[in-house]
């Protein structure tokens, strides 16, 4: 930060030489020129970023908007973002669409009761249906109003056993998270607090398993779990987490390396053994990193689809992701209910991410290539 232009051009505040008024003016001019350019650049950046953010957010808005529409609203074209519905009025016991119409008597709200040839339509005032107006339909604006269908949420969640899916997903996510954090923090401690040739080699092996495509172990694992009678249970999704995840080990080790070894030494002098120093020195120092790894795991496990699809066969065992995929395949035309179920699927990770985004984004940044 020391290399900012501020140190090159003296600013007004710490101007120690008021007598040099002439050169100062030109410097100030220069300064304002640099500033103007920088402000222009920032404005441009913000505009570009804003347009991108609009594109990013629009699909999410679409998901939420569609989840509140009924079937007729879904068919409106052009598709409105918000759940608009065409406003209607009753005339002589029948329902007709309402228009903001321009007549000889001025603007009034009229109902279209009959279409006539040549794009014309017969309009009446719902309050006084005796007078008919013949107008060009295209020239009138159809009235719309917001019509939220919150009942889509209970409807969607009850049409499929989403409650069961939700509980299944929670159990798998949290139990595997527990297994992952216990084992990965132990292993990370092992790789950060001990040094030997064998450990160096093993650490490279660990790093290379991050790249390993899961497919190469998938089929024997499936057969193995089948022999154990674990197919159609949560166990294949939970038990492997207790053997540490290479990626999380790497992330935690990077963090553990930043904790000064003197703290371990002090604990040793106080008579702590390795387990105690791990539990009471290293772990309490690493809460942010542990938290970041847990959040990453939560989002990964919550969204996982491949493994639940393979291992969970009966509907009562499914996770939300599998349930939503099946729901979508079976009831494609019920976009509103599917979007409502999607909102339920995406909301926990999004909320968790927004609450913890600082730690999260930093966590991902730590885990990035540079470590």
């Amino acid at each position: 930060m020391s290399g900012q232009p501020r140190s090159i051009f003296p600013s007004q505040g710490n101007d120690l030489h008021p007598e040099e008024s002439k050169p100062r003016k030109t410097l100030l001019e220069l300064l304002s020129g640099v500033k103007a350019e920088r402000i222009m650049y920032q404005i441009m950046t913000v505009i570009v970023l804003g347009m991108g953010a609009f594109v990013i957010l629009l699909p999410i808005a679409f998901m939420f908007g569609s989840s509140l529409k009924d079937k007729a609203q879904l068919k409106m074209f052009p598709p409105p973002l918000l759940p608009y519905a065409y406003t209607t009025a009753e005339v002589n016991g029948e329902t007709y669409l309402l228009y903001d119409a321009t007549t000889e008597q001025g603007k009034m709200q009229l109902a279209l009761i009959k279409k006539a040839p040549g794009g014309m339509g017969l309009f009446v005032d719902p309050k006084d249906p005796t007078v008919q107006y013949k107008l060009v339909i295209k020239e009138q604006t159809q009235l719309k109003h917001l019509d939220f269908h919150w009942e889509n949420y209970p409807d969607a969640l009850q049409s499929q056993p989403f409650g069961t899916y939700f509980i299944n997903t929670l159990i798998i996510t949290f139990v595997s998270m527990f297994g992952m954090i216990v084992s990965s923090s132990m292993v990370a401690y092992g790789f950060s607090r001990f040094r030997s040739k064998a450990l160096n080699i093993l650490f490279i092996v660990l790093l290379s398993t991050i790249m390993l495509p899961s497919q190469v172990r998938l089929i024997p694992m499936y057969i193995f779990f089948q022999k154990l009678g674990w197919i159609n249970t949560m166990l294949p999704l939970i038990v492997p987490a207790f053997f540490a995840s290479a990626y999380d080990v790497f992330l935690l080790r990077q963090f553990f390396l930043t904790i000064p070894l003197e703290m371990d030494d002090a604990a040793k002098v106080d008579g702590a053994n390795r387990i105690q120093s791990f539990l009471f020195v290293t772990l309490p120092q690493s809460i942010p990193a542990l938290f970041a790894v847990c959040i990453l795991h939560f989002i990964w496990a919550w969204n996982d689809f491949y493994e639940p699809l393979i291992y969970l066969h009966s509907q009562t065992k499914w996770t939300i992701a599998v349930g939503l995929q099946t729901f979508n395949a079976m009831y494609t035309e019920n976009t509103n209910l599917i979007m409502a179920a999607s909102v339920v699927l995406v909301l926990p990770p999004i909320l968790l991410f927004l609450i913890s985004q600082r730690i999260f984004v930093q966590g991902v940044v730590i885990s990035g290539v540079k470590g």
């Binding site: 068919k75 497919q215 969204n303 990770p349």
Partner: protein, 305 residues
Amino acid sequence: MASTHRFKLTLKQQDALWSYFFIGPWLIGLVLITISPMLASLYYSFNKYNILTPPQWVGLANYKKLFADPLFWQSIRVTLKFAIFALPLNLTIGYLLAVLLNQKVPGLNLWRTLYYLPSVISGVAVAVLWSRLFNPNLGWINYALSLIGIKGPAWLQSTIWAVPSLVIMSLWSVGGTMIIYLSGLQGVPTTLYEAARVDGANKLQTFFHVTLPMTSPVIFFNLIIGLIETFQYFTVVYTTTGGSGGPARSTLFYNLYLYQNAFSYFDMGYASAMAWVLFLFVLLLTLLVFRSSAVWVFYEGEIKQ
């Protein structure tokens, strides 16, 4: 601890024992759920195996069948077609975003959060949502195109446009690539930027002569990781096509075909052969990373310290 042993262990030996105690969970897992299944799948790849009857040794038959299988080549074509479009777009847009978000911009944290947001959304939800946006008649994308006078294609229902649709979907999650670039950009020493400024370099010159060369390992890393991930691409295309890879197998990705062989046709030997071809391909790419990327040298230095 040492006092309970009959032979007093040296401190070094004690440390070694402790180290294996701590890395134990991973070490056991390495044998049980990594190396053994890998070897088993290699073994299965030389067998005819449908789970119900015992494996039957067939030698190289699965591999021979694989290389003569038009669907295998179709799956590679589809995967590469996706990679050729998705990777350069993802890498470029992700990089430009990272460069923009690596400077002082008002609301920096908000932007980073917004751009990363789609990356935390489940692939199933992404597919379910975008298949609506791509709806040829009622979707927003064709509506937007109609506003500028273009009649949009049938997207996911078209054999030509299905893969490009998936490419567009993947760009929505470009924030994931951006974050990795950001960490790379933050690793560029500020002294280099200062030196460039002293030498009178402008913004573009600094970008091309400092930022880009300094982050090239990260770009390369992202490219390789992206290629590996493309060969494992599954959830979105399974959801948009109901697992079929349609229309007319135009989205039959490598991993989807592997899944079909394993869990639709229960041809475990054949699927294992596909898994090993994938593994060897990834191994090759990974070796490339090890060879030519300074990123990995960093780790080695860490361990030897």
